[in-house]
């Protein structure tokens, strides 16, 4: 929990920094643990349930430890009409997990996001923030394979 304490001490003790604190901690730890919630509540002098309330309100925050790589399927309007439900199915089949889950090796997690803002390249997914566009099944599986072989950055 040293990292959490370090993060908190860099922020002013003003409640308006609570979301920022959660973001910085998630950046370091990958998710928000029970311990982190207690530390944050302590630091901002609010109850843990208030922090938990904020965590569950915003889709950005995760309570489950994510895999090494996070795949985000964009389901914005443009991607949706260009077939993002299929893209999601293909990934779910390939990884054997559903949206919001991490595969059994802890390698990939799958998320669905509202819009990555690259509508002209629809359908798109992002892996660890890198966007891959104009996907079809073959292209998608090739990208996943690249990650598995350690060939993609």
């Amino acid at each position: 929990m040293l990292a959490v304490k370090d993060v908190l001490s860099s922020l002013e003790q003003d409640n308006s920094n609570l979301i920022k604190a959660l973001q910085l901690i998630q950046e370091q730890e990958g998710y928000i643990s029970n311990e982190a919630i207690k530390e944050i509540a302590n630091y901002f002098n609010v109850s843990p349930v208030d922090v938990e309330g904020v965590v569950t309100f915003y889709t950005q925050f995760k309570r489950i430890k994510p895999g090494e790589h996070t795949i985000c399927v964009c389901d914005g309007t443009a991607c949706h009409i260009k077939g993002s439900p299929l893209v999601k199915n293909w990934i779910e089949e390939e990884l054997g997990i559903k949206e919001g889950e991490t595969d059994k090796d802890g390698f990939f997690s799958l998320e669905v996001v509202a819009c990555l803002g690259c509508c002209s390249l629809a359908p798109v997914v992002s892996i660890d923030g890198k966007v891959y566009g104009n996907l079809d099944r073959k292209k998608l599986l090739k990208i996943i394979k690249q990650y598995r072989n350690g060939g993609a950055k």
Partner: protein, 571 residues
């Protein structure tokens, strides 16, 4: 001679491979200045590389690959691969707000200044704050975030308040799926947005400025942050002796936070629940201080108005909608991208002339995102302005414009938006929380082939209740996608519930996949690729096993497999 090379590295460009192109050029060209620029709006042709020559000429190359052949074309100023902006587009666009986007380095304050940047701020500082507010009022600028509230009026409310602290927030929480105007502006010309904010702070007496930006836009956050540092270093946030504080706050993924009272709650570090108005934020906002919230594009317009004068600005557009509007054009069309058009242009001009959509195939546009509606092709001569769109049951929204062709199902489109709003409902109001969920279930029933005419009537009834029973804009507008599709595409709903058919062949439960044996060349690619082994060795698809994933259709080299109405074996 080539003076410098610009590579477009906004999000769209990067997704298309612009970083690889940039790296390749940097590794192979050492004697020419290479800069990264933002977005020029021609997303269909990314990655884009622009060459500036000594005599001021500018040539843009499209679909550039990171290889020697393409680099040679660029360096020799070859005619090949040049981006030729079609006359249909250039004659209808009016580039004002995005004039510098993709032309200058987003993170160079010097370049922004060289191109007239911060002249508007200087001019504003030589005027009285009241005159600045009056100028904005006179220009007729209305909020570009969707609501269309007159910006000058909002500023007048804030400036009239007496308070030790006054807050001005830039709403950069562009959460509508299908919209990327604000992202593009922040990534490409962050200084222009900041200049608009500084002018606003001077005019209204705001002391604390926030930019509430989506965390999903990392490049926008980065570029704004760099620009902000530069402003502070040069003391540009010193407004005639009064230093204002500007902070960037990252949102955490909640669509409802685009609503102003929810955004204020979120900035205070709370759950983003909207609250009842009044008191309006200009009376009681962030931490109780008077607060004005304007959208990114609204701020982007401000420097133009101050610099060029309100009269000139107000000469563009229609009687009640002035200036230009950015649209994020996507969907079933040939040239998706970011376009800037004068208010009053027709939907058809945008879709067909600028977007190059197929006149025979387009059946509607979806405008305004989850709060907006679908407008059928027969109304495409409607001018784009706040009031005309409202009369058709849509809204201007922030500027997402999705073209829908005849092979898309309108019921499915409505279902998609309700899925979004039911997920994003904050849960405070019963009608929004439960009503959107019930609407979604009913739509799923219809697209799943189990709907009845009573379900359609139920949708109409509950839509009105959700609209009336919700506190904020999210709930009040959530039924719009259903209401507008019911209004214009009722026949599609009826086909689903009465005939159990999806005319667009999109709803999987109402569709079979059919393999035409006469066309089939027995290559077995479909059998090999089918993820659920639904295709027999004698090339018959078992529709009970088939998941309608379309993989076989994609791999088939002779197009022998087609989607057909359920139960129908022929085309």
């Amino acid at each position: 001679m080539i003076k410098r090379i610009k590579v477009g590295t906004a999000s769209c460009g990067i997704a298309a491979g612009a970083k690889d192109v940039l790296e390749f050029i940097k590794n192979n060209v050492t004697d020419i200045d290479i800069v990264e620029v933002g977005c020029i709006g021609h997303c269909y042709a990314e990655p884009l590389v622009e060459v500036e020559t000594d005599d001021g000429e500018s040539i843009i190359y499209r679909d550039v690959k990171p290889d020697k052949a393409d680099l040679d074309k660029i360096l020799s100023l070859s005619d090949e691969k040049r981006l030729k902006v079609r006359n249909e587009r250039s004659s209808r666009e009016l580039i004002m707000v995005t004039k510098l986007a993709g032309r200058i380095s987003p993170v160079s304050i010097d370049e922004y200044k060289k191109n007239g940047g911060y002249e508007a701020l200087a001019k504003a500082l030589s005027m009285s704050p009241k005159d600045v507010v009056d100028e904005i009022k006179k220009s007729g600028l209305r909020g570009r975030g969707g609501g269309g509230f007159p910006t000058g009026l909002k500023w007048e409310f804030l400036s009239a308040k007496e308070s030790e602290r006054k807050i001005m927030i830039c709403n950069a929480d562009e959460g509508d799926p299908g919209a990327f105007m604000d992202r593009s502006l922040m990534e490409s010309v962050p200084h222009q947005v900041l200049e608009g904010m500084l002018i606003g702070a001077y005019a209204t007496g705001a002391t604390d400025l926030f930019i509430y930006v989506r965390a999903e836009y990392p490049l926008a956050v980065r570029n704004l942050g760099i620009a902000l540092e530069q402003i502070k270093n040069e003391g540009l946030n010193n407004l005639n002796g009064r230093v204002v504080d500007i902070k960037i706050k990252e949102g955490a993924g909640a669509f409802v936070c685009g609503e102003e009272t929810a955004m204020i709650a979120s900035l205070e570090g709370k759950r983003g629940n909207p609250r009842y108005r009044p008191p309006f934020p200009t009376d009681k906002g962030y931490k109780g201080y008077p607060t004005a919230i304007n959208n990114v594009e609204t701020f982007g317009n401000v420097p133009l108005i101050i610099k060029g004068g309100a009269d000139r600005y107000a000469s563009i557009g229609t009687e009640h909608s002035k200036g230009t509007k950015l649209f994020a054009l996507a969907g079933d069309l040939k040239y998706p991208g970011l376009v800037e058009v004068p208010m009053g242009i027709t939907i058809g001009e945008i879709v067909f002339e600028i977007g190059g959509a197929d006149k025979d195939k387009v059946k509607a546009v979806q405008i305004g995102g989850p709060s907006g509606g679908c407008i059928p092709a027969k109304y495409f001569d409607t001018p784009i302005d706040y009031d005309s769109l409202k009369s058709l049951g849509a809204i201007m929204g922030s500027g997402g414009l999705i073209v829908i062709s005849s092979d898309r199902c309108m019921v499915e489109t409505a279902r998609y938006f309700l899925e979004f709003t039911s997920r994003e409902s904050c849960g405070k109001c019963t009608f929004c929380r439960i009503g959107t969920k019930r609407m979604l279930e009913t739509l799923e029933k219809i697209t799943g082939g189990k709907g009845s005419l009573e379900d359609v009537a139920f949708l109409e009834d509950i839509a009105g209740k959700v609209k009336n029973g919700s506190l904020c804009g999210l709930g009040q507008t959530a039924p719009n996608p259903v209401v507008s599709t019911l209004r214009f595409f009722r026949d599609e709903y009826e086909k689903h519930v009465v005939d159990k058919q999806c005319p667009a062949l999109q709803c999987n439960a109402l569709v079979d996949l059919y393999l035409n044996q006469d066309k089939c060349i027995k290559c077995k690619l479909c059998i090999k690729n089918c993820p659920v082994n639904a295709i027999s060795d004698d090339f018959v698809i078992d529709c009970d096993i088939c998941t309608r994933c379309n993989t076989c259709m994609e791999v088939c080299p002779v197009d022998a497999i087609k989607r057909v109405p359920k139960g129908g074996k022929s085309e």
